[in-house]
Amino acid sequence: MTVDFSNWVCPTPLRDYPAIVMGHGAGGKLSTELITHLFLPAFGGPHGPLADAALIDVGGARLAISTDSFVVRPLFFPGGNIGELAINGTINDIAMMGAQPIALTASFILEEGMPLAQLGLIAESMGRAAHNAGVILIAGDTKVVDRGHGDGVYITTTGFGLVPAGITIGPEHARPGDAIIVSGPIGLHGIAILSVREGIEFGAPVTSDTAALHGLVSTMLASGSRIHTLRDPTRGGVAAALNEIAATAQIGIEIIERDIPIPPAVQAACELLGMDPLHIANEGKLIVFVERDDAERLLAAMRTHPLGRDAALIGYATIDHPGVVVARTGIGGMRVVDTLVGEQLPRIC
C-alpha cells in the first residue's frame, strides 16, 4: 500500500512529513488528516470506522463504545494523574453520546523501571474514579516495554454504555439556531499540565478539571431539553470541538468571546505563552448544542449540578459560513476560530 494523497482538500497533504511528527497526535488538522487519509482507506472506506466513538446495536440495545490511549506527561499533575484521566476521559466520550457508561477495559503499557509505588497510586486512583462513577473495570492487559521505549505508563481504556431509548445525540444533529452552552470555565486541565512543563507557578493553584460527566449529562437529559449534540472539548480545546461539529453538521458557529468563562489564571498563562484559551484542553467540561428555546431551561438544570454550576451560553449555530467557526471579539470584530495544525506551541515572537 502507498498512502493515498489523491483526495486532499489541500493539494499536498502529509507531503512534508514522510514520518510521524508530534503534530499527528495533537488532535488538530494533522491528526484528522492522518485518520482520513491513512487509517480510513486502510480500514475500508471513508465512512464510519475509526471515529472517536461509535454506536452498535446489540440484542435490541444500543451500545455506545469509545476507546482512547492516554500518554500524558507528567504522569502526576496538579489535580490528578494519568489513571483518573484514563477513566474519566473514556466515561466522558460515552456520556457525550447520551449513553450511561457501564464498564471499562484498561490496558497498560509499562516502561521497564516504572516504580511500582507510583503504578500503585495510579491504579488506585483508577479504581477510585471508576467506583465513584459507578462503572466497573471488567478486563485488562499488561505489557512491559524496554526502558527507553515507553514513558512510565501508557493506558488505553475502552468503555461501553447503553443509550436510553429515544436519545439521538451526536455532532451530526447540531442545527442552525441551536444555542451553545459550555458547562464551566475552560482551559484548566491544559494549563495545569503546561504549568508543570513551562515552570509557571500559580498564586492560587490551577488544577486539572478532570471529572466524569455522565452524572451531569443525566441531569441535563432529565431536564427535558432538546439536546442535539454533546462534546467534551479535550485535545485541541473548544476550538477543535466546535470546528468538528461545524464540519460534521455543516453549520456555521458564532461564539461571543466575552461570554466564554475563562479563569484569570488560564487567561494570564495564555497571554504569557502566546496561546489561545480556545485551544487549551479540558478534561471535565462539555459543550452542548440545544434547541434555542430550551437554552435557559437547560442552563438552569446544569447549574443545579456541581459540574455545571458555572455553565454559560457562549454562542449560536447559524446557517452562515457552514463549516466555519467565528468569534465575536471583545471589541466587536469577528475572527475565524480555527483548529490548530499540529502541536500547540508557546508563541514568543
Binding site: 482538500v9 511528527v21 467565528v326 466587536g332 480555527d338 483548529t339 499540529g342 508563541r347
Partner: protein, 371 residues
Amino acid sequence: MKYLDEFRDPALARRLFEQIRRITTRHWAIMEVCGGQTHSIIRNGIDQLLPPEIELIHGPGCPVCVTPLEIIDKALAIAALPEVIFCSFGDMLRVPGSRKDLFRVKSEGGDVRVVYSPLDAVKLAQQHPDRQVVFFAIGFETTAPANAMAVYQAARLGLKNFSMLVSHVLVPPAISAIMESPNNRVQGFLAAGHVCSVMGIEEYRSLVETYRVPIVVTGFEPLDVLEGIRRAILQLEQGRAELDNAYERAVRPEGNVAAKQMLADVFTVTDRTWRGIGRIPRSGWRLSDRYAEFDAEFRFNVHDIQTSESPLCRSGEVLQGLLKPNQCPAFGKECTPRTPLGATMVSSEGACAAYYQYGRFVPTSTIGVAS
C-alpha cells in the same frame, strides 16, 4: 489582567473607531511594522471595523517569517547532529527550510527542544556538559537583549558547549528599504512598541525626516493599535510627518540603556538577507568578534546547504505590502498553515497565516475537518 484589560475596553474602542472615522477623508495606506500588531489587528477584527479608506499593510515584522532560508537550512543541519541539543522558540519549529522543518528533524532523531527563554538554553548547557547546546537566536531588537545575555552568561560561566545560531534583524533599515522601494505605497508607519522600549525612538527621527513619513510608536492591545492608527491618520490628514510616541507607558525616548550597552558589547551590525525580501544593508546583528567563539555557524561546519524557495510564493511582495495575502494565487490552495510555502504562512504572526486564521474571507473548503 491589569494594563491589558483596560486597553481592550470595547466602549473606548468604539470611541477610537468613531474618532478615526471622523478624521478620515481619503485613502491612506499605513503599515504596522510589527507582526505582533498584525496579530492583534486580525485577532480582534480591527481591520474590518476601520473605515474602508484605511488600508493596513502588514509589515515584515515577524522574525520567524523573515529568517533567511539559508539560516533555517543551517539550523536544520545543526539540529540533526547527534551531539547537539538544539533549542528554539516554539514558533520556529514549523518554519520550513528547503526540504524539511525542525519538527521533522526531531522526528528523525534530532534533539530539538522548545525553550521559553534563551537562559533555559544556557541552563541546559550547564546540565549537559557532554552535549553541544545550540540556541537559535532569532528576533528583532526586543529579543536581542535576552539572547545577548545568554551569550554573556555562557562566556562568564566558561561554557564550551554553548553556541548560538544568530539571525537578528533590525527595524529601521527595513523601514528605509520599504520607503526606497520603487513600488512603495506606504504613507505612514506604526513603529513596534517593544522594539522601541529597548532601543528608544531617536533612530526613527531621521527616517521621518528623510522620507517625510509619519511614524507613530504603537503598542499591541486593540486600543493601542487604534490610537496609533488615529495619530498616523491625523498627521496624514494634516499634512504632517512627525515621530510620535503613542505607547508612552512602555517606551522611554532613550530606550533601555542597560540593554543597549549589552547589545553594543555582544552584537555588531551586519548586512542581512530577509526571507522574501532580499539583502538589506546593515539590517541585522551578528555576534561581535569578542564573542565569535559562540557562533554556531563557525563551530559547526555545516556544508552543502542547498537552499531553494518555492517559486509559487509571493511572500516577498506580501512582506513589502505590495500584495494582500489572499491575493496570492497559492493562498489557501497550495499554501496553508499545514503546508506553508512561505515564511509569512508559517508563523501564527505571519501576515498570510494571520489572514488564514482570522480572516473572514477564507474559503470554507480549506478549513474542512473530516467528519
